[in-house]
């Protein structure tokens, strides 16, 4: 994760974490081996569009939540 090295304290799915300055949503998902197309992401309760994942940088105090889609059915 890039940046100038300053720690940024955030919460991710309720857990406290310190990130490098400049860390994006995409960085966080990649670090967890999560494919962006499989998840929905909220920051501070706001649903984030997938196109923003590479550019949205988390700042101090942000709370990011992500979850996998829940879907299925008897289709096949």
């Amino acid at each position: 994760m890039g940046g100038s090295g300053w720690d940024v304290d955030v919460k991710i799915n309720g857990d406290k974490e310190s990130l490098a300055d400049g860390t994006t949503i995409e960085d966080i998902l990649k670090a967890r081996d999560v494919r962006p197309e499989m998840v929905a992401v909220e920051v501070n309760g706001e649903l984030i569009q997938k196109g923003e994942y590479p550019s949205r940088i988390l700042i101090k105090g942000d709370q990011m939540d992500f979850l996998f889609y829940m879907a299925g059915g008897r289709l096949v």
């Binding site: 499989m38 309760g45 059915g73 008897r74 096949v76």
Partner: protein
Amino acid sequence: MDETFKLKRSQADIMIDQALEGDPREICGMIGGNGAVASKIFPTANIDESDITYQMDPKEQFAVMRTLREEKLELIGIYHSHPETDASPSMTDIKLAFYPDAYYLIISLKKKDDPVIRAFKIVDGNVSETGLEVRAD
């Protein structure tokens, strides 16, 4: 071996009633609890409004997850109905099972007057039935 999933009669009835009310559409929801023991059922909307698929609204999923966190519960189950087919995971269910720690419950309304619920774990495409224990309230 996975533990038998445990829930109360009234909790099973919430899911069955939702399935019958939603019929012929598939219905869905989330289950909070600890380990293999259900504490709370969270019926959710099927935004597909379909007879053959379901998808939860992510905003609703987030809201349930926040409630679970506040109540110190875990997401232990995800359920949906099969209005016309058996209570077995379809290929779609298996492909879209992203929660290896959760139990997947399926309610079959193949016999409308005798709904069947079965519980499974789905991990990396591998399905195993875990058993289901419905306890009196």
